[in-house]
């Protein structure tokens, strides 16, 4: 999807003409440990996939817990499918499909029993769809949850999440237990899932390769703060990766958003505008497009190296 189209969608959401799957406004959570998720604000328009990225401990899972009302919010508001996530908790959860990084079933349950436990929870449960996902994922109904591999346990959660016509899928690090084939399959499923334009996905991960192909939007959280939210391609286009030798460090001083120094040189993240100036000054620096991984890696590089 083009950046222009996604920017148009963002504009329309601001004007209220595109329905929102998720709207977070100033969400804040303070822990006694000292960690704070501070004033997070972003929207996910209906019909799109948003990648929620950030390093470990950035606050991604905290944000998901706030959305699901698992923890108390200290400030802000969260609206899911147009409803307040606390006041309309039951109505919202009937329309949510959720996958965590570890399964939530009782280990002694069989796959069949896990399905039986979840089916009555949702008025829109589709047993045929559930059975079909079990076949597609190669899940044996008679197997106990504890006998499944981590990847298969994730697929069981996914089968449940996809079998009740959920309008919003929330996936918390779903790919961490999957091999490359499993991750590809998951991405295909997510694309099929949003095809009708009415369903959306919020996908938290630190394996950013997954998002390069799948995500339309990115919300990047680091150190408990929202660093960026918007179209994924615009995110990548906003920065450039600049590589050079130690003697060229002075040329980028004061302009970097993050830098990693080696004995033989450096990798630095610069805003697009600064990188363009360097290019026009013919500084002999290597200026390359960035991957999401580079942005996460370099914006989390230690302050003193900038």
């Amino acid at each position: 999807m083009t950046v222009d189209k996604l920017q148009g969608v963002m504009q329309s959401t601001l004007q209220g003409s595109v329905p929102l799957a998720l709207s977070i406004d100033g969400a804040t959570k303070r822990y006694d440990s000292g960690f704070t998720l501070e004033d997070v604000t972003f929207d996910l328009p209906a019909g799109y996939i948003m990648g929620l990225i950030g390093p470990n401990g950035a606050g991604k899972s905290t944000l998901i817990k706030l959305i699901l009302n698992m923890i108390r919010r200290d400030a802000g508001s969260i609206s899911v499918l147009g409803m307040d996530n606390i006041r309309s908790e039951e109505a919202i959860k009937e329309q949510l499909g959720i996958v965590f990084d570890t399964h939530y079933f009782i280990e002694a349950w069989t796959v069949r029993k896990a399905g039986q436990a979840m089916a009555p929870m949702y008025p829109t449960w589709n047993q045929q769809a559930f059975d079909s996902y079990l076949r597609r994922f190669g899940l044996d109904e008679r197997k106990k949850v504890k006998e499944l591999s981590r990847g298969m346990q994730m697929k069981l959660m996914l089968a449940v999440a996809l079998s009740h016509d959920a309008k919003l899928l929330i996936l918390d690090e779903p790919t961490s237990g999957l091999d490359v084939l499993g991750r590809d399959e998951l991405m295909d499923i997510l694309h099929e899932y949003i095809e009708d334009g009415a369903r959306s996905v919020l996908f938290s991960t630190h394996i950013t390769d997954d998002l390069e192909h799948a995500a339309d939007f990115i919300a990047y959280i680091t150190g408990g703060r929202l660093y960026y939210s918007g179209p994924k391609d615009e995110f990548e286009d906003s920065f450039r990766l600049v590589k050079g030798g130690p003697e060229q460090l002075d040329a980028i001083a004061g302009q970097t958003l993050g830098i990693h120094r080696y004995e033989t040189g450096f990798d630095a993240l610069l805003p697009m505008s600064a990188a363009k100036k360097l290019q026009s000054n013919d500084m002999n620096l290597a200026i390359e497009p960035v991957l999401i991984d580079d942005i996460v890696r370099l914006t989390n590089a230690k302050e003193e190296t900038r």
């Binding site: 817990k65 965590f100 939530y104 079933f105 009782i106 436990a117 979840m118 929870m121």
Partner: protein, 229 residues
């Protein structure tokens, strides 16, 4: 299906996670105990007492088991996924507790019947008192346990029960000894004027159990609504 019914159903599936067979074995043990030992002279009173104790503690153990499951392998996260508001999850758990207690009473009634057949008789009053003790006792015991289970982890509860229970028993005994004369007078007065009247005794018992359950439910709701999952 409404939210409370969903919560009860989910807890039933948790309770029978290891299959219905284990539940049936648990239910079959007390009657089997009566059949094996109830026929011996002078043993039936002991057997009845043991069964009363068993049937009062088994429902509490089953209810505790629900919390143990929740503490294992992130199963508590399921409570955050299912479309059941937290207050209904709590109410559902109290209802499943009541259902298990009714099953325990039915089991006890079966045991009394078998004692009559095997051991040659028991009077109706003591049978009814036994039923009331099993039902009321297990409900009170679970009502004390449930708020604790909502507040603490199952590992903490085991420690709390071991140390706390001993301390409470010790404190009660110490108080009874300190105020021996007053306690004796109160017990004698209740025995002479209140407990001789069956309807009044029943009324006091029912009121006591109802107050304990209401207080327990209120505390559990307060704790669970504020709990971070």
């Amino acid at each position: 299906m409404n939210a409370i019914a969903k919560a009860v159903r989910l807890d039933r599936l948790r309770m029978t996670a290891n299959g219905m067979l284990s539940m049936l074995v648990m239910a079959a043990l007390p009657p089997a105990f009566v059949l094996l030992l109830g026929g011996f002279d002078g043993v039936s009173i002991v057997v009845t007492g043991v069964i009363e104790g068993m049937l009062m503690t088994v429902p509490a153990a089953l209810t505790m088991n629900l919390f143990v499951y929740e503490d294992q392998n992130n199963h508590r996260q399921m409570n955050a996924i299912v479309p059941i508001a937290r207050q209904y999850q709590v109410v559902g758990r109290y209802l499943i507790m009541a259902v298990v207690d009714v099953c325990a009473v039915m089991d006890f009634a079966l045991c009394i019947g078998l004692t009559y057949v095997v051991g040659g008789g028991t009077d109706l009053t003591s049978a009814l008192v036994g039923l009331a003790v099993v039902f009321g006792g297990s409900i009170v015991m679970e009502s004390i346990l449930l708020p604790l289970m909502y507040r603490f982890s199952s590992a903490e509860i085991v420690l709390l029960l071991m140390v706390g229970l001993m301390l409470v028993v010790f404190a009660l005994c110490a108080l009874a000894l300190l105020f021996k004369a007053q306690v004796t007078a109160i017990v004698a007065c209740l025995g002479a004027h209140v407990f001789v009247l069956m309807p009044l005794t029943v009324l006091i018992g029912v009121a006591f159990v109802a107050i304990v359950v209401a207080a327990s439910l209120s505390i559990s709701l307060r704790i669970y609504l504020r709990k971070e999952l």
